[in-house]
């Protein structure tokens, strides 16, 4: 429980804990953020056992349907 003020914000236990750990200074915050991302990548990789991949979509450039005449002219 904490104080409540006009703007309706309450300093909760959670906020106080965060302020004393992750939000203690810019370096702890930076390390926490990067670590979170790396952990998620590692866990996701472990869970799905798949690798990150490019988006694979049909590329109609290679099978464009134009009349042979036009195609000949384009080439």
């Amino acid at each position: 429980m904490g104080r409540q003020n006009k703007s309706g914000h309450r300093v909760t236990f959670m906020q106080r804990t965060l302020r004393n750990t992750l939000l203690y200074n810019k370096h702890t915050l930076f390390i926490a953020t990067v670590t979170a991302v790396l952990v998620i990548i590692a866990v996701e990789g472990r869970l799905t056992s798949r690798e990150a991949s490019s988006q694979e979509f049909e590329n109609p450039f290679f099978d464009i349907q134009v009349s042979p005449q036009v195609r000949a002219d384009i080439r």
Binding site: L22, L23, N25, K26, L29, F30, A32, T33, V34, A36, V37, L38, I40, I41, A42, E44, G45, E51, A52, S53, S54, Q55, E56, F57, E58, N59, P60, F61, I64, Q65, V66, S67, Q69, V70, D73, I74
Partner: protein, 288 residues
């Protein structure tokens, strides 16, 4: 306060936030694309003048008459692919904009002015994200469209003076419009696909005390090296490689747009980008 006035206030505030980004980054967002398009036009003209009059006439004839009756939707991907380089420029402009976006106000100390306005850190950082994903592609596209129109009209006038008929004009104009639309869509899709990069750079932009872009790139290289040495794996490299090829961003039809935007990789990337962007938002409290 009525609902409509709340909406008006929010809309005005966002106009203010986005206009701020444009006005502060005129050279990167307006002048650089203009210069790029101008150079492209001049280069094209120079190449064109190398041809003999006969070949010039033939080329104009090809351009303005041979597409008569063709389905513009079929031809547009060809033109879109030809414009793929524009995506590289848009992404390049957006990422270099992001690198200084949370840094330059701290450096010039105007930070205190911005922070004395009733704008939350979240709104500030989200306005940078919106600028890179939507505003920069939109401005670039507008300039590209203008450049294409100038080129197209001069080509039409020139053809007319050569005595070339302009029968396929409608088809050509619609092909061009569709291709430009595809380039715009591709750019926005690319930026969304690159949300992890957007977040990464924003985090460094909020964190670094100098040259944030260099730190962002250096940090990535260091992490990948660390992974190689400690874990002898290369997940990070795979990650970077999977999002670097510009070809994957080219949108050729709106049919697969939904699949692109809501693919697993896109959403997972957005999650990581979201965490990094949150980090950048929280980092603002340490900006002084």
């Amino acid at each position: 306060m009525s609902d409509s006035s709340i909406v008006t206030l929010a809309a005005r505030r966002w106009r203010g936030l986005l206009m701020r980004e444009i006005r502060e980054n005129r050279s990167l967002m307006l002048y650089a694309p203009c210069l790029l398009v101008l150079v492209a036009i001049l280069l094209g003209l120079r190449l064109f003048t190398l041809f003999s009059l006969e070949r010039q006439t033939a080329a104009m004839d090809l351009l303005f008459n041979r597409f008569e009756g063709i389905n513009a939707l079929e031809l547009a991907p060809l033109l879109t692919s030809a414009g793929a380089l524009n995506l590289v420029f848009i992404v390049g402009i957006a990422l270099s904009y992001l690198a200084t976006s949370l840094y330059s106000d701290r450096r010039e100390l105007s930070y205190f002015f911005w922070q004395s306005m009733p704008i939350s850190d979240r709104a500030t950082v989200m306005s940078k994200v919106a600028t890179s994903v939507l505003v920069i592609p939109a401005i670039y596209l507008a300039i590209l469209t203008l450049g294409s129109m100038i080129l197209f009209i001069s080509a039409a006038v020139y053809s007319f003076s050569l005595g070339v008929e302009l029968n396929g004009l409608v088809e050509l104009v619609s092909t061009m419009s569709i291709a430009l639309g595809f380039i715009g869509l591709s750019a926005v899709t690319a930026m969304l696909w690159l949300l992890p990069a957007v977040g990464w750079i924003l985090l460094f932009s909020a964190y670094a005390t100098r040259v944030p872009l260099l730190w962002a790139i250096g940090g990535l290289v260091a992490l990948s090296l660390l992974e190689e040495v400690v874990l002898s794996s290369n997940t990070i490299d795979t990650w970077i490689a999977s999002r670097s090829s510009p070809w994957q961003y080219l949108v050729f039809s709106i049919d697969d747009l939904g699949a692109r935007l809501f693919s697993y990789d896109m959403l997972f990337g957005a999650l990581l980008g979201g965490i990094l962007i949150s980090g950048a938002i929280l980092m603002r409290r340490f900006a002084d």
